[in-house]
Each structure stands twice: as structure tokens, then as C-alpha cells.
């Protein structure tokens, strides 16, 4: 195992162990104690398994899970940022359909294998995005009558 996955394993299992310890701490200290009886049992097992996993990662004995290569991180990052901004900010600020359309178009463009300098491929992306918006509106607004946040736009 190279250093990159090893360090990643240490960070990932360390974070899981930290969550486990926090859950256990809250379970054993929060009141009323009776409400936390079941969480106590779970969190005890959780902490034991998480510390075991963390220990194995520290010793470099983790054999399952490839981690993420630098290329994968580079590829994921723009799309993930767009998706997170869409969900946690744009959908409620700009309006569900506006934010969804913009996000769809950005993601389709970002990851399109076709050259970005080609007019034809831009037209194709716009048509696909318009089709997506029409289908989503038809399904959710007209068929299922879901009232989505309209906010600034729509």
C-alpha cells in the first residue's frame, strides 16, 4: 500500500473513530439515562470496532478500500462543489427549478467529453438541459403536485 491510501485510511478511520467516541460520550453522559440505554449498547460496539479499524490503519494493515487517487479527487472536486452549492444554497435561494437547470447544465458541460469549443456540443447541451427541465417539471409539478421553493426565480 502506498503512502497516499495509507494516510487516507488513517484520516478516514480516525474520523469514524472520533464520531464513535463522541456518540459514546453523549450516550453515557446525556440525561435521562433510560432514553440512552440502547444508544449506549450500540456506541460501545461502535467504538470498539472503530478503534480496531483505526489501529489497523495506523499500523498500515488495512487491506480493503483503495482510497482516492489524485486524479479521482481532481475529477470529483468540481462536480461535488457544484452539487453541494446546489443542494445547500442555490435550491432555496434561487428557486428549485432555476437552480436545478443551472446545475444540470454546469455538470453536463463540466464532464462532457465533447470539446468545449464546439458550437454543436453547446447546442446539444442546451437541448438536453431543456429536456431535463421539461421532464422534471412534468413529473414533479404537474403529475405529483409537489410545491417546490420558488424564491428569487422559479
Amino acid at each position: 500500500m502506498t503512502d497516499l491510501p495509507r494516510n487516507q485510511h488513517i484520516i478516514a478511520s480516525g474520523l469514524v473513530a472520533a464520531v464513535g467516541v463522541t456518540v459514546a460520550y453523549i450516550s453515557y453522559t446525556a440525561q435521562p439515562a433510560a432514553a440512552f440505554l440502547f444508544p449506549r449498547i450500540i456506541s460501545t460496539v461502535f467504538v470498539v470496532l472503530a478503534l480496531w479499524t483505526f489501529g489497523k490503519a495506523l499500523l498500515g494493515r488495512t487491506k480493503v478500500g483503495n482510497g482516492l487517487s489524485a486524479t479521482a479527487i481532481r475529477n470529483i472536486l468540481p462536480g461535488l462543489v457544484v452539487a453541494l452549492v446546489y443542494v445547500f444554497w442555490a435550491a432555496q435561494t434561487l428557486g428549485f427549478y432555476t437552480a436545478s437547470t443551472i446545475t444540470f447544465f454546469i455538470l453536463v458541460t463540466l464532464y462532457d467529453p465533447a470539446p468545449h469549443g464546439e458550437v454543436k456540443s453547446w447546442v446539444r447541451r442546451i437541448i438536453i438541459t431543456a429536456g431535463f427541465l421539461a421532464v422534471m417539471y412534468g413529473l414533479f409539478a404537474m403529475l405529483l403536485n409537489v410545491f417546490t421553493p420558488r424564491e428569487i426565480f422559479f
Binding site: M1, Q8, A12, V16, G20, V23, A30, Q31, P32, A34, A35, F36, L37, F38, P39, I42, S43, V45, F46, L49, T53, K56, T62, K63, V64, G65, N66, G67, L68, R74, N75, I76, P78, G79, L80, A83, L84, Y86, V87, F88, A91, Q92, F96, S100, T103, F104, L107, V108, Y111, D112, P113, I128, F132, M136, L139, F140, L144, V146, T148, P149
Partner: protein
């Protein structure tokens, strides 16, 4: 024979239309690489809210059945399995297609799927009522151990690392405790207003199954899908029917193997197809032909995949224990209508239970008929570029999660869990036990509390939960499944180097 009374309900115009829609849509979704049956069913759940419970389940059941079979289309014509369950089909199916026998391979695959599927659903029909009656004898301690069994068996058998599988289950059980405690009304782990009402199962399922797929598609960057769709020549269907039944050995091995594997919670279609293929190869006098485009390979693998579908629902419908991630998603589809599986389902909602099961039987036949005709179209859809697929799935996940309760909090939960799950999966954790923990957590806790109260009034907690033949049997299965998986993990590692393990992981991912 109660099921016969409810056959008519499948053929009402609306229900039959849903069955057709689920079947055709499932075949197309199944053929699309990256869209697993579980994810397809999870994304469909929001569309079933406004439907009657039986109608909603018909749609979900049809999609489940046909996505498993539809995966064969891309396996045969593109050499990309539509779902992990279709890996074994690729071995001979694609070679047949390359020889110009694509139509024959598809016909064999759909006919074998239908035969296996019908057998599996018949098992579901005849086993379920018996087990549901048996389940009536279960008390709180047994139900508690059953819920724990559901999490541990999937955590240990369905994960590449037993410890990480069990840890994933623990995370799911913990997530299930977030919100207000049912008995005392105490706040537990409410760190954000979005989770004050607890974690709704449907957005969680959508996030855990759909978002990691979206991010995985992002990880491929701007790569072009170079897979070539092989053309489908004409082939007489009557010949394919004759061939399937002439290859009775492969068909029966696939059907029986798939049915048995389907009954074991946690063991999925991927294993069913591969085990059946392996057994058919070992028992065939023409074993040298396997891998060179031999029809027995396709028949065994595909009959096993679909034979697994019906039996995988037996533990769900009788004991409330989803035997697979897709069964867990179907449980979500039942819970949104306030229906709880088990004997209650058959006693109080027989029309829902039997209409759903009967629709799966009819769905197998429809899947065979439509599969043969729309295979070409499905293969074209399977070529939808990653960028479009990722954006569509993200959009459906967001809209679907929002529509559950018209709440942005659900969308936040969906996205947070999905993103977290993607990273956890990269480090060997698994979504299936986490989902089961989330679903079975409330069942385990409610029965634990109820059992503790009974124990306090009658005996001690130790003797209530740890004595009695059924308790001991369930505890024994929990321990055996963990020990067996741990032993298998150690044994396989003893013979592999670190590099082998890394290479194996890379091949799997």
C-alpha cells in the same frame, strides 16, 4: 392458495399499466451501467406516495424484477454488466454477441430469467404464509435478535471486511436513534434542525444509493464511453425456447442455486449468478466451451439472477428483515404507507401482499416478452454518457427527497449521507449494512425496551434475552455468520499478498 383470489387486482387497467411501466422502465434502467436495481427502486419510491399501497408496490416490484434482467442487455451487447448481478452473463453472453449471436443470447437470457424468476416467486408464494405464521410466535427478545441478525449477517457476508461491515451496521443503528426518543420524548443527537424529527428512511435510502453513484461518475472525469453496441441479428424465438429447455441441467442449476442464495439474507444476485455459472460449468460435459460463447453459461447465470428475486423477499415479508439492500428499499415503500411486514401484512392487508406478489409473477412473463423486443433500444439507452446520467440522477435524487415531506431538511440529509457514504465506500465501508441498521434500528430498540420491561417484571434481562431455544438459535446464527465471514476473510488473506489484495480491490471497484 389464498393468492389466487387476488390475481384479478393485478389486471385492473391502472395496476396493469403500472406493471407495464415498471417492467419497461426497469428493463431500460437495468441496462444502464451504474444504475443498480437498488438505486432504481430507491429513486422510484417518491413516485409511489400518491398511489394505493398495492399499486405502489406493483411499480417497485416490477422495476426490481426487470432491472435485474435488463442488466443482461448491456452485459451481452456492450460487455458492461448493467448491475453486479450480471457479471457472470458477460462471460459467455458477450462472446455470443461478438459471434453475431446477440439476439440468441438475449432471447436465452430473458427466457431463462423468466423461468428462474417464476420459480423464485412461486417459492415466495408458498413459503411466505408458512413463515409468517411461524413468526407469530416471536416475542420482543426474538424480534430484537432478528433485527440484530439482519444487520450482522449483511454486515459480515456482504462486505469485503467483516469489521468494516459491522461498523457500517453500527453507524446505521446509531443514525436510527437520532431524533426524539419514543418512550421518554428525550432529544437524542439532534445536532441540526434538519434531523430533529429523526432521519427519514426514504431520503436516506436515495442518498446512500444514488449519490455515491453520481460521485463515482464524476470521478471518471471527461472520459468517453467507448463501448460499442453490437448489432442484434434476427433469431427465431421458438428455437431459443427449445434451447433453454433442452439445456435443462443449466436451467435447473441456475434456478435452484439462485433460489437458495436468495433465501439467505445478505447474499445478493452477484453471487447467485457467479455460483450458478461455476456449478453449471463443473457439472457440464461441455465445460471446455464455457467462456467461449456457450449458451449454458448465459442460461445458468440469468436464471439464477432472477430466481433470487422472489426468495430474497421472504425474510422481509415474513419477519420484517430485509434480506438485501433492494428488499430494504421495498420495506421503505411499505412503511411510507404505514404498512409493516410480517404476519400483520398477511392478516390485515392480504390484498396488498398478494397483489404485490402476484404482480411479480406476471411481471416475470412481461419482462420476458418486452425484454426480447426492447433489448436494442435498451442497449442504446445504456450508452447515455456519464455526464448526463450523473446530472439526471442528482436531479431525481434532490426532487425525490424533497417530495417526501416537502422539506429541504430531507434534501440536506440525503446529500450529506450520500456524500459521506461515497467516501466511506472508498475505504471499504458498505452501504447495505448501514441501510439495514437505519431501517432495523427502531425495530431493535423498540423490542429491546419492551423486552427489558417484561424482563424487569418477570426475570432478569440476561435470562430473558439469552435463554430459550429461539433466542439461542438466533444468537448462534449471529455468531456463526460473523465467525464464518471472519474465518473466510483470514483464510483468503493468508494466501494473498498485499499487492494481490489491492489489485483485487481495484478490479472490483
Amino acid at each position: 392458495m389464498e393468492f389466487i383470489y387476488y390475481f384479478g387486482d393485478v389486471f385492473t387497467p391502472f395496476n396493469f399499466m403500472l406493471l407495464l411501466l415498471g417492467t419497461v422502465g426497469g428493463l431500460i434502467l437495468g441496462a444502464t451501467p451504474g444504475l443498480s436495481p437498488t438505486m432504481a427502486v430507491a429513486l422510484l419510491i417518491p413516485f409511489t406516495f400518491r398511489l394505493e399501497p398495492a399499486s405502489g408496490l406493483i411499480l417497485l416490484g416490477a422495476a426490481y424484477t426487470s432491472t435485474v434482467a435488463g442488466g443482461a442487455v448491456s452485459a451481452i451487447l456492450l460487455k458492461i454488466p448493467g448491475a453486479p448481478a450480471n457479471i457472470a452473463t458477460t462471460l459467455d453472453g458477450h462472446t455470443m454477441a461478438k459471434k453475431g449471436e446477440g439476439a440468441r443470447a438475449l432471447q436465452l437470457s430473458f427466457i431463462a430469467s423468466a423461468v428462474g424468476g417464476v420459480f423464485g416467486v412461486l417459492l415466495l408464494i408458498f413459503l411466505t404464509p408458512l413463515l409468517a405464521q411461524w413468526a407469530l410466535a416471536f416475542g420482543p427478545s426474538h424480534l430484537f435478535w432478528l433485527a440484530i441478525l439482519g444487520v450482522t449477517i449483511i454486515g459480515s457476508l456482504d462486505s469485503s471486511s467483516v469489521v468494516k461491515g459491522l461498523l457500517s451496521g453500527c453507524i446505521g443503528l446509531w443514525l436510527a436513534t437520532i431524533g426524539f426518543d419514543d418512550i421518554m420524548g428525550a432529544q437524542r443527537f439532534i445536532f441540526h434542525s434538519s434531523v430533529s424529527g429523526g432521519i427519514n428512511v426514504i431520503p436516506a435510502l436515495i442518498g446512500l444509493f444514488a449519490i455515491p453513484q453520481v460521485i463515482t461518475m464524476f470521478a471518471k472525469g471527461r472520459a468517453r464511453l467507448d463501448a460499442e453496441v453490437l448489432s442484434v441479428e434476427k433469431h427465431p424465438i421458438s428455437k431459443a425456447f427449445r434451447e433453454v429447455f433442452n439445456r435443462f441441467r443449466a436451467l435447473s442449476i441456475g434456478t435452484i442455486t439462485g433460489s437458495i442464495i436468495g433465501l439467505i439474507p445478505g447474499v445478493g444476485g452477484q453471487i447467485a449468478g457467479l455460483v450458478a455459472y461455476d456449478q453449471a460449468k463443473k457439472m457440464s460435459p461441455e465445460r471446455g466451451k464455457f467462456g467461449t460463447g456457450h449458451s449454458e453459461g448465459v442460461i445458468a447465470a440469468e436464471s439464477a439472477n432472477n430466481a433470487m428475486v422472489g426468495p430474497s423477499l421472504v425474510p422481509l415479508l415474513t419477519l420484517s428483515i430485509p434480506g438485501s439492500p433492494t428488499a430494504a428499499v421495498l420495506l421503505g415503500g411499505l412503511l411510507i404507507h404505514g404498512i409493516f411486514p410480517g404476519s400483520d401484512l398477511f392478516d390485515n392487508y392480504p390484498e396488498v401482499a398478494w397483489t404485490f406478489i402476484n404482480s411479480m409473477l406476471i411481471g416475470q412473463i412481461l419482462m420476458c416478452i418486452f425484454g426480447l423486443y426492447i433489448a436494442g433500444l435498451a442497449a442504446r439507452v445504456a450508452q447515455v454518457p456519464n455526464n448526463v446520467m450523473a446530472a439526471v440522477v442528482l436531479g431525481l435524487a434532490v426532487f425525490g427527497s424533497y417530495s417526501v415531506q416537502n422539506s429541504m431538511g430531507d434534501v440536506y440529509i440525503m446529500m450529506a449521507l450520500g456524500t459521506g457514504m461515497f467516501f466511506l465506500e472508498r475505504f471499504g465501508f458498505s452501504a447495505a449494512p448501514l441501510v439495514l441498521g437505519l431501517i432495523l434500528g427502531p425495530i431493535a430498540e423498540a423490542n429491546f425496551i419492551q423486552g427489558s420491561m417484561i424482563a424487569n417484571a418477570t426475570s432478569s434481562i440476561g435470562s430473558y434475552f439469552f435463554t430459550g431455544p429461539l433466542n439461542l438459535l438466533l444468537i448462534g446464527i449471529v455468531v456463526a455468520s460473523v465467525a464464518y465471514s471472519g474465518w473466510m476473510e483470514l483464510r483468503s488473506r493468508r494466501y494473498t499478498t498485499k499487492d494481490d489484495a489491492v489489485a483485487k480491490e481495484e478490479a472490483l471497484s
